[in-house]
């Protein structure tokens, strides 16, 4: 069973992840915005990629974390894993919204539309709704164990559903929309690959850092409430 030792560990090591993330992101942003060249077809707009792709990747990464934490929770029933899952869900929701937003802004100049029913966009929209549902479900449940378990169930079901959504939309789109608007990625030149990989790794580290901070936050909230609750119980003695 993971324990508060784990929280102490988070507290001790979180800063290294944060620092590494900031260094990589600073270099990544510098190379991305200042030194790298523009894309042959898209021009300068391709620079949105350096923030959009890491956002989307991090969202997927955070959702996978939520999925694995959920399975782990159902297996071991360790409350701190539930805190981690809850933290991952909040972060995943944030990055999903950011990914959708930056993707939309990128889509306007490249495909001349804010939104298209692309499989990836659709699965991200579904992911967004699932995460909102997850967090809402948690707020509506009072019992701590029930909240953790039901949340975990929803997260697992949603994670399994996501590839099916992606697949079905792909089929559906091939029927209804001409594939003239290609939403596949741009071919990557060498001086684009550097900022992109820097930002990707940086965001992964940043996510780890955020997960560590947020898990602590949720755990401490619980600890504080438990403390106050115990004071309440002791008043009766």
């Amino acid at each position: 069973m993971l324990s508060t030792r784990f929280i102490g560990w988070l507290r001790r090591y979180e800063k290294w992840f944060g620092i590494a993330a900031v260094i990589l992101m600073v270099i990544g942003l510098y190379t991305g915005l200042v030194t790298s060249s523009a894309d042959y077809y898209q021009g300068e707009v391709v620079r949105i990629m350096y923030v959009h792709v890491p956002f989307a990747q991090t969202a997927m990464f955070a959702y996978s974390t939520l999925f694995f934490c959920s399975i782990w929770y159902l297996w071991k029933r360790d409350p701190i894993v539930d805190n981690a899952a809850h933290a991952a869900a909040g972060i995943a929701l944030f990055f999903t919204a950011g990914g959708l937003l930056t993707g939309s802004i990128w889509g306007k100049p490249t495909w001349n539309t804010w939104w298209t029913w692309d499989p990836r966009l659709t699965s991200f929209a579904i992911l967004f709704l699932t995460l909102v549902g997850y967090l809402m479900l948690r707020t509506f449940l009072d019992d701590k164990e029930k909240r953790a378990t039901f949340g975990a169930i929803l997260a697992i079901i949603g994670f399994i559903d996501l590839p099916i959504v992606h697949f079905s939309v792909e089929w559906w789109r091939s029927l209804h929309q001409p594939l003239s608007v290609s939403t596949r990625g741009v071919s990557i030149a060498a001086d684009m690959a550097l900022p992109l990989s820097l930002m990707s790794i940086g965001f992964t580290l940043l996510f780890t850092y955020m997960l560590m901070v947020r898990t602590q936050m949720l755990y401490l909230e619980y600890l504080l409430e438990a403390k106050q609750g115990r004071l309440m119980s002791e008043e009766r003695l």
């Binding site: 579904i126 699932t130 809402m136 479900l137 449940l141 164990e145 079901i157 399994i160």
Partner: protein
């Protein structure tokens, strides 16, 4: 064989209660009729347009039916704390899920079968010769919908804001079912060859298998959190 007897007992109980009070089926049925009526007033009824929008109308009506019917399916278990009784039973909990799923599936399917003639009536559709194919698609789509709906009904029935949470959870995750069902229905109504929409039915079957199995496995945690 206790496993199958549990499924049988649960389905027996649900069907008998439903036969006695008819709450669920009648509310599903009349709700769906209202949806059909509103649609028939809001669209012009020339035959070409109807063919284009009909699959959507059919599955919107069935979707609402699912929200009304499946959402309430675990209410009867909560009313007299029967969920607790299930929790204390020394039996595999997945069997309880399958029993509830079976009942829900039968309710949904029977409502859908009754509704098809009404579509013919209100929209002048000529689907009677395709009825068996429509039935096949309804069956595979309804299995998936009931599998997810039964699970989410058990998940949301004990919480505040149950009526809101159930569709919020069910609808996004059942997007593949609706896409598959609408496309296959469209294929039938426009008289396409079976091979042209067969892959949608296969998709629905895959979805059904995955979600029945996963829900069956995961249901234990809902009862025994």
């Amino acid at each position: 064989m206790q496993f199958f007897s549990v499924i049988r007992w649960i389905a027996w109980k649900d069907l008998l209660s439903e036969y006695r009070n008819r709450e669920n089926i009648s509310s599903m049925f009349f709700f769906a009729i209202n949806v059909i009526l509103i649609f028939s007033f809001s669209f012009s009824l020339d035959p070409e347009t109807i063919k284009e929008i009909m699959p959507g109308i059919i599955w919107v009506a069935f979707g609402f039916t699912a929200i009304i019917g499946l959402g309430k399916s675990f209410l009867v278990e909560v009313n007299n704390d029967c969920m607790e009784y299930f929790q204390m039973l020394p039996i595999p909990k997945g069997a309880i899920y399958l029993g509830k799923f079976l009942g829900n599936f039968l309710f949904m399917l029977s409502v859908e079968i009754v509704l098809f003639p009404l579509f013919v009536l209100f929209f002048n559709l000529d689907i009677l010769d395709q009825f068996l194919k429509l039935l096949l698609i309804s069956t595979v789509a309804t299995i998936g919908l009931s599998a997810l709906g039964t699970l989410f009904s058990a998940l949301t029935v004990q919480i505040r804001a149950r009526e809101v949470m159930f569709p919020i959870l069910l609808l996004p995750l059942s997007v593949p079912i609706f896409i598959g069902a609408v496309e296959a229905t469209r294929g039938i109504l426009s008289g396409d060859a079976f091979a042209l929409y067969r892959h949608w039915i296969e998709l629905l079957v895959v979805f059904d298998v995955i979600f029945v199995v996963v829900s069956f496995w995961i249901f234990e945690f809902i009862l025994d959190y």
